[in-house]
Amino acid sequence: MRRRLGMKCPSCQTIFSAPGPQCPKCKLTLHHLDAKFGAVPRYSRFVTDCSGRLSRRDIADLRRLLRLFNRKFPQSRFSVFVTNQLSAGTIGEYAFWLMNRARFGFAEAVGGDNYDLLLAIDVERSAAALIVGYGLETYITERDLERALAQAASGFHEGDFARGIGACVEVMISRMRAIVKKLEETKTTEEMPTTASGSP
């Protein structure tokens, strides 16, 4: 049985058991974050660098890697947003707000159809957040996201953001591939007795 990602407030980190329109502790909603962050910043497909820390070659290489990710997982799109202009709020709040307000993935991918991932990096405050859409909540555990960020940490710490992002994406590719394979194996195992009993 997979451990479902806990429902946690992106702002105060309070864990809540039942879904609600606002955080039971800090009363956070997406509308509050709209007021905090204002207009959605300009962003590009796959990689957006507002900080200027990534070279053009880095961006091109990362786009290639994220395009490969998208080919492997056609339902999902992995986007990276690097900023240094986060005046208010935390990187968690910003990632949650950006994930819902920007259109990184498919426009129609809402609710359980959203299998997207967003890696938001604040280079000024040295913080990063990896967030997933509703569709991946069932399959990706919190530990998977932790591992991916842990792999990226050394690159981020050394200022080599391209290496860190690449490591994070590679970990997620490997993990998501393993999860899908395991799901398929489980499905095949469940179907086999039915087939065997149905055959004469």
Binding site: P10, P21, Q22, T29, Q75, I91, N114, A129, V132, E137
Partner: protein, 128 residues
């Protein structure tokens, strides 16, 4: 039946001449066509003065050509592998099963805020 209406057959020498004329006309083109065997050219004075055997290619040249071909093949293979890898030709696509039950929260219709965060300013300080 009146046999007087049909002309009498030509005499024998006329028939022989007719036969030979047809034979000559039919065999004429075959006789004038070129046969497969060509005439041999006489070697020129220049050709006669050249040495019989050509100078062999130096070993260094051969090695250089082989090395260049190997390098070219290597470059082509490297670029092809990169392109193939980018195109995901040798790997399959992975799809997650559809999710039916979604716990919408905090007003987000794409994500409910399931995430992990990290602070990397110090020595890789994690904050989960």
């Amino acid at each position: 039946m009146n046999l007087q209406r049909f002309p009498p057959p030509p005499p024998r020498p006329v028939r022989i001449v007719l036969f030979f004329s047809i034979l000559i006309l039919a065999a004429g083109p075959v006789a004038f066509t070129q046969t497969q065997e060509s005439t041999h050219d006489t070697p020129s004075v220049m050709a006669q003065s050249e040495p019989a055997q050509a100078k062999p290619i130096p070993l260094g040249w051969k090695i250089a050509v082989v090395a260049m071909v190997a390098m070219g093949t290597g470059f082509v293979l490297a670029f092809s592998l990169r392109a193939w890898r980018a195109a995901n030709l040798f790997d399959r696509q992975y799809r997650f099963p559809a999710v039916t039950v979604v716990a919408f929260r905090l007003g987000g219709n794409k994500s409910g805020g399931c995430m992990s965060t990290i602070e990397f300013g110090g020595p890789a300080n994690k904050n989960f």
